[in-house]
């Protein structure tokens, strides 16, 4: 815990909570049919109290059934992706680790599309495998693959890690595209665009429960692990001398992140770089200590993706832009700067 920034931290946290609420209201009001933020607020409050909002039912339906779930999903996914970046960076002691860059998200997408394909083939026999479950398995396999390729035993160099991620990502993307094209119009199969660039357009109230629960539980878990995350950043040996069973903790953490990424990707495809951008920005705001960084990162991740989704909806008059394009446009330059722009080497 940084010694000085306690007041500042409380201000930042409450500021971000407020900003998140305001962002969601504004995000809901924006779109093809523009709705007054005050109306949005009124509709949300009324619906939450079980009342009929005093606006045109069509407007209320757009707000409550389409836009609110979508904004909430954006917030949940943003929070989850920021969290996954933070935890992965501590687990492999590298500020560039992130589900998309390391190919974990691609692994999840293979698992998801394979499950959908399998489900559509086996549906006649009544076999249904949860798509999130399949995505989790895919993410898990990709995680193990990346860590093995990067050489988990030795001190992983940045170059090896990034290359391992690129390899796994390329393989998984090819595989999932292959499955998508093979599957044709199998039931529930989304387009390749959905899986590789992400979309929040299908958000429904029903679909929010699982990701929200997973993000909430995993965030709470890691809030109880902030000391260990801090110690891990010092490096493997230093963490051991601080009493941490690094191998065991790393396994648990990467497993939980695979679960998180699996669930998120199964809901909205691959949205890259959020886990890179948010931790990086927030570290400069509150420092590297996870007690401060984790809540702030999760909140800001939520806000970030809510606005990224707004951009994706309003930039083109003809329709949605895949949200992954927006996040990549912001994240890739930062990735480049972190990878090449720093004379301080990353131990390559």
């Amino acid at each position: 815990m940084s010694y000085i920034s306690q007041t500042r931290l409380v201000v930042v946290q409450w500021g971000l909570i407020l900003l998140l609420v305001v962002s969601i209201v504004l995000a809901v009001s924006a779109g093809a049919v523009s709705i007054q933020p005050s109306d949005v607020w009124h509709i949300i409050v009324a619906k939450l109290w079980g009342l009929e909002p005093l606006v045109a039912p069509a407007i209320a339906d757009i707000v409550w059934d389409i836009r609110v779930p979508r904004a909430l999903l954006a917030a949940i996914v943003g929070a989850g992706l920021a969290l996954s970046g933070l935890v992965m960076q501590a687990s492999v002691q590298n500020p560039l680790a992130e589900p998309f860059i390391l190919g974990i998200a691609s692994g999840a997408s293979v698992g998801a599309v394979a499950t959908i394909l399998l489900g559509s083939i086996l549906a006649v026999q009544g076999v249904v495998i949860g798509v999130p479950m399949g995505a989790f398995i895919g993410a898990m396999v990709a995680t193990v693959g990346v860590l093995l390729l990067a050489g988990i035993r030795s001190r992983m160099s940045t170059v090896r890690l990034i290359l391992a991620g690129a390899v796994v990502s390329a393989l998984c993307t090819a595989l999932s595209n292959f499955i998508i094209y093979m599957a044709g119009d199998a039931e529930g199969m989304q387009s390749a665009t959905f899986w590789t660039m992400g979309s929040l357009a299908d958000a429904k109230w029903d679909g929010l429960v699982l990701p929200m629960a997973v993000v909430a539980v995993i965030t709470a878990y890691f809030m109880s692990r902030v000391r260990i995350l801090d110690a891990l950043l010092l490096g493997e040996e230093a963490a051991i001398t601080l009493g941490i069973d690094v191998t065991k903790q790393r396994r648990i953490y990467m497993g939980l992140i695979a679960l998180l990424v699996g669930v998120l990707v199964s809901q909205c495809g691959i949205i890259g770089f959020v886990g890179l951008v948010i931790p990086h920005m927030m570290r400069s705001l509150v420092g590297a200590s996870h007690r401060n960084l984790l809540p702030v990162g999760v909140l800001f991740g939520a806000i970030f993706l809510v606005w990224a989704d707004v951009l994706s909806r309003v930039l083109l008059s003809s329709g949605d832009l895949p949200i992954g394009i927006i996040t990549a446009l912001m994240g890739a330059p930062l990735f480049m700067k972190l990878l090449f722009g720093n004379s301080r080497n990353f131990g390559g």
Binding site: M1, S224, G243, I244, D245, S289
Partner: protein, 282 residues
């Protein structure tokens, strides 16, 4: 009895014997130095003590309990380590780093309490870094970073402190300062050291390792001798003793400053290719 007891420790990596049958007891509050040439197994031995290397063969007892029966968390409450300089990619404040020393004592949701802060303050004061408590660790000089790392180790309230070549990146001022602080703690210290004269100055006992075998173990006066230095390092020396009988090695390099250098060892003193001083020898 409070002691670290190493018995018949062996360690093999890729068919190479790094440690061969090491037995050593480190007791109480003494300052034990490990010296020996590069690759002699100093770091490997220490990494066994601080749980980074698994025990392949042999046994280590901590207060008569086999290390395998002590959890990593428990041993971190007793042994603190100041390792070789580690580069940090993440921006922590000096205070953050110091408080990390409390990690082995904390449960999941435990906050840092008054005691932790007081301990961090006194430790940072001991190493002279309290004034920099809010500074970013990354912006400190190498010497300052080492001192903060020492403070972190002190915050662990260890019974033993392991120094794994701690002075590598420090100039002589900081080397002396660091070892003085460590010496004043009154806890057991095991330190791998490169500089023999520093080892002689600070250690109660010195253990000489070569090829994974303990060559000698004893007081500085017993160990730092002309024959040991020659046998272990292949270095000629003359040992002098100060008023406290502390040995001090003066290294002798044959003919280095005599004009007969070229004749004596033309392959070593290849002065012909050096136009600057070549004239003296023609």
């Amino acid at each position: 009895m409070r002691a670290i007891r190493i018995e018949h420790l062996r360690y093999v990596v890729e068919g190479k014997q790094i440690l061969q049958d090491i037995s050593l007891t480190l007791g109480g509050h003494e300052f034990v130095g490990l010296i020996g040439p590069n690759g002699c197994g100093k770091s490997t031995l220490l990494k066994h003590l601080y749980r980074v290397n698994p025990i392949q063969q042999g046994q280590i007892y901590f207060d008569d309990v086999p290390l395998a029966d002590v959890s990593i968390r428990e041993s971190a409450q007793k042994i603190a380590v100041m390792g070789q300089f580690t580069h940090l990619d993440f921006d922590f404040s000096v205070m953050d780093i110091a408080l990390m020393g409390r990690t082995p004592y904390k449960k999941s949701f435990d906050d840092d309490n008054e005691y932790d802060y007081a301990l961090a303050e006194s430790s940072l004061n001991k190493v002279g870094m309290w004034h920099a408590k809010n500074r970013s660790f990354m912006t400190l000089s190498g010497g300052e970073q080492q001192r903060v790392m020492l403070a972190r180790a002190l915050v662990q309230e260890p019974e033993y402190l392991i120094l794994d070549e701690p002075t590598n990146h420090l100039d002589i001022t900081y080397q002396l300062e660091l070892l003085k602080i460590v010496k004043s703690l009154g806890i057991g210290v095991v330190a791998a050291l490169h500089e023999l004269n520093l080892a002689a100055l600070f250690c109660d006992r010195i253990c000489v390792l070569k090829d994974g075998i303990i060559q000698q173990l004893g007081t500085p006066k017993e160990v730092i001798t002309e024959s040991t230095l020659f046998n272990v390092y292949g270095v000629e020396s003359v040992i002098n003793y100060d008023e406290y009988d502390i040995p001090h090695a003066r290294y002798v390099v044959e003919d280095l400053h005599s004009s007969k250098c070229y004749e004596a060892a033309p392959n070593i003193c290849n002065v012909k290719e050096s136009p600057m001083i070549g004239d003296h020898h023609v």
